[in-house]
């Protein structure tokens, strides 16, 4: 029981440690900052979680985010419509991920290779489209990343909606259950009649919608359409998912775990900045935490497998004795 909630215990302990280290940590302004800073990468992390649970991966998230973001910005500059620009961003993300899905599900391309190709293509298209130049003077477009509704940052509202959506589809839908089955053992999933190709398509399309939305929020937050923005964001997303207990082997992971993982990283970054910890040391600490999370994941999985085999052996022994 305690093991199941380890990640949340770590988060709570870290929260109180941060509060002890620097009293500014607990201020409303700072907590709001952390949430806003985390919104983009956490939304990406939810997409990454869905894919990893299903045994897939998306290395193109940062590049597709940039492409979707600049298209959304340009759409807003041309039409002045917030809704239309939001839709364009989301559709752009979905279109790129539809290609990922075709490559992975139909052509059986390893997700690593398929999304690596998309990473290069999407960045190239974003740079071609903008000729490498930032799009400036975004006007009211910044409301997505900088606005508030009743004091709550708009980006955080999006984050909450996406978190609930991810939790719901993973926990309470047939698609969610089939995803765990596909990621856990694809051959067994096929044998049990699950439409694996369909599951992969849905997973990539949801991920694409999240990436597109993240693109809109990112560009809006920094008040510029940057075709070279968000480089490496796919790794921030993977970090949050892995720290949150999503297993790279597939079939394991939760939305709440990913949220906790993202906040652990966010708290750490925030407290290190508040305490003005040296840049180089920050990188060492971040790297060490990822390594620890993965070691812990492998260690607990090993114990679970060992425990399971142990039970099987005991059962066999008992059967032999009985016979």
């Amino acid at each position: 029981m305690i093991k199941k909630y380890n990640i949340y215990l770590v988060l709570i302990i870290l929260f109180f440690l941060c509060a002890l280290i620097n009293p500014n940590f607990l201020s409303i302004g700072n907590l709001s900052n952390i949430s806003r800073q985390l919104a983009v990468t956490t939304i990406l992390a939810f997409g990454a979680t869905i894919l990893i649970i299903g045994g897939m991966l998306d290395l193109s998230a940062g590049s597709v985010l940039a492409l979707a973001g600049v298209l959304a910005v340009d759409c807003y500059k041309s039409t002045n419509s917030l809704i239309l620009s939001l839709i364009v961003g989301i559709l752009a993300g979905m279109a790129c991920n539809l290609i990922n899905a075709v490559m992975v599900a139909n052509f059986k391309t390893p997700p690593f290779i398929a999304t690596l190709a998309m990473m290069t293509m999407a960045r190239g298209v974003a740079l071609l489209y903008t000729q490498g130049q930032n799009i400036l003077q975004l006007g009211d477009f910044v409301v997505f990343g900088q606005g508030t509704v009743f004091g709550m940052p708009v980006s955080v509202i999006f984050l909450i909606v996406i978190a609930i959506f991810t939790w719901y589809i993973l926990k309470h839908t047939r698609f969610g259950r089939s995803l765990y089955a596909v990621g856990g053992n694809e051959a067994a999933a096929v044998a049990s009649g699950i439409n694996v190709i369909r599951s992969k398509y849905i997973a990539y399309l949801i991920n694409g919608a999240f990436v597109g939305l993240a693109g809109v929020l990112f560009m809006s937050r920094i008040n510029a359409g940057q075709p070279n923005g968000a480089i490496g964001f796919e790794f921030h997303a993977l970090t949050a998912a892995i720290i949150g207990g999503t297993s790279f082997s597939g079939g394991v992971g939760t939305a709440s775990g990913t949220l906790a993982g993202a906040f652990i990283v966010g708290f750490l970054n925030n407290i290190m900045n508040l305490a003005n910890v040296d840049s180089y040391l920050q990188q060492v600490i971040r790297g060490a935490i990822i390594a620890l999370a993965v070691i812990y994941d492998i260690w607990t999985k090993g114990r679970r497998t060992k425990g399971h085999l142990g039970n099987v052996e005991d059962k066999n022994k008992k059967q032999k004795v009985a016979s």
Partner: protein, 344 residues
């Protein structure tokens, strides 16, 4: 059936490859001229006497088209090249990778370009490859940043130390006594990032011991990273009097974090590059100053230098563009410059 599909895929890839290779930029459709002196084994030679009639092929290897300044410079070089009917420029993208830049240099040597301009990703990593250009009898120019001490090589650059220094000298008077400041650095090891930081240290911090650095981080030239740092710093510090940034993009990110906060309404902010965004911020009174590193000036000087080398007027040129300080007093002329370029 499988064999046919293999043949089709192979054909498709070949067509794509040919289409890609044939689509060079910079009007390189002109037949290439033979190398100025392919027999030379050390220093590049001057062009033959009929230089006026031939088209010289120039390879421009950009550090990374994804870097907004590098893209601006590459576009400016392409535009400037149109003014020289005797020069055709092919733009190549180093993709922020030493390996890629080095490979592009090697390929350009193999393709016998008449002159190769290299915008290094990392000067020391590219040094032996630029030396190979000279050894192959081809003219070489390094730019933004120059690689120092290459015999027979030329360079066109801005002085990163001076770019920061013009800001630092102004800041000596502007930053209030006992001020709290934050510092945003570029990637460690980058020549411009290191030189600009050194300049601030020598020209400002060593002369203003009353000033306290309450936050200093590497934001890798990125606006979003700088913004996140600034959001955290303003939580930890009630008073921040100035943002000292090694480029404009990071300064703009830090300003984005405080733009609606009345506590920081009078904050000073310094950058380098003179990007369109920074120029607008100066016009709005939000940013204090920047030093213009004009891609147009660099491109103009690069093509002028190339022409002089290729037509035999000179054999080696090392030159710098100026370091104009952009403030509220002279910002309008730079707004016009960016408008003309279509950046605004």
């Amino acid at each position: 059936m499988k064999k046919i599909s293999h043949v089709l895929v192979a054909l498709l890839l070949s067509v794509a490859l040919l289409a890609g290779c044939g689509g060079g930029s910079g009007g390189s459709a002109q037949p290439s001229a033979p190398p100025a002196d392919s027999s030379s084994d050390s220093a590049p030679s001057a062009a033959p006497e009929d230089a006026g009639e031939q088209t010289f092929r120039v390879a421009y290897i950009a550090r990374a088209q994804a870097d907004s300044f590098a893209a601006w410079l590459a576009n400016a070089v392409r535009e400037e090249a149109d003014k020289y009917p005797n020069i055709s420029v092919d733009i190549m993208d180093g993709e922020a990778s030493d390996d890629k830049v080095n490979s592009l240099i090697e390929n350009s040597i193999t393709n016998r370009y008449d002159l190769i301009i290299v915008q290094p990703n990392n000067g020391e990593a590219q040094r032996p490859y630029v030396e190979q250009i000279i050894a192959a009898g081809i003219f070489a120019i390094t730019t933004n940043a120059r690689i120092e001490g290459i015999a027979g090589g030329s360079s066109v650059d801005a002085d990163p130390y001076m770019q920061a220094a013009v800001n630092a000298v102004a800041a000596l008077e502007q930053v209030p006594e006992n001020a709290n400041v934050v510092v945003l650095n570029g990637p460690p090891g980058n020549f411009h990032a290191d030189q600009r930081r050194l300049s601030w240290q020598t020209e400002f911090f060593e002369k203003r011991s009353d000033v306290t650095i309450v936050g200093e981080q590497i934001a890798n030239w990125n606006k979003d990273e700088a913004m996140a740092f600034m959001e955290d710093w303003i939580q930890a510090n009630d008073r921040i009097d100035a943002i000292i940034s090694m480029n404009d993009n990071m300064a703009a990110g830090a300003l984005e974090a405080v733009k609606d906060n009345p506590k920081f309404a009078d904050i000073l902010a310094y950058g380098v590059d003179g990007t369109a965004e920074a120029i607008l911020l100066i016009q709005e009174g939000k940013m204090t100053s920047t030093c213009l590193q004009s891609a147009y000036d660099l491109a103009e000087l690069l093509l002028e230098t190339s022409n002089k080398l290729l037509t035999g007027q000179e054999t080696e040129i090392n030159t710098d563009i100026g370091n104009p300080l952009v403030t509220i007093d002279n910002v309008e002329q730079y707004i016009e410059m960016h408008k003309r370029a279509g950046a605004l």
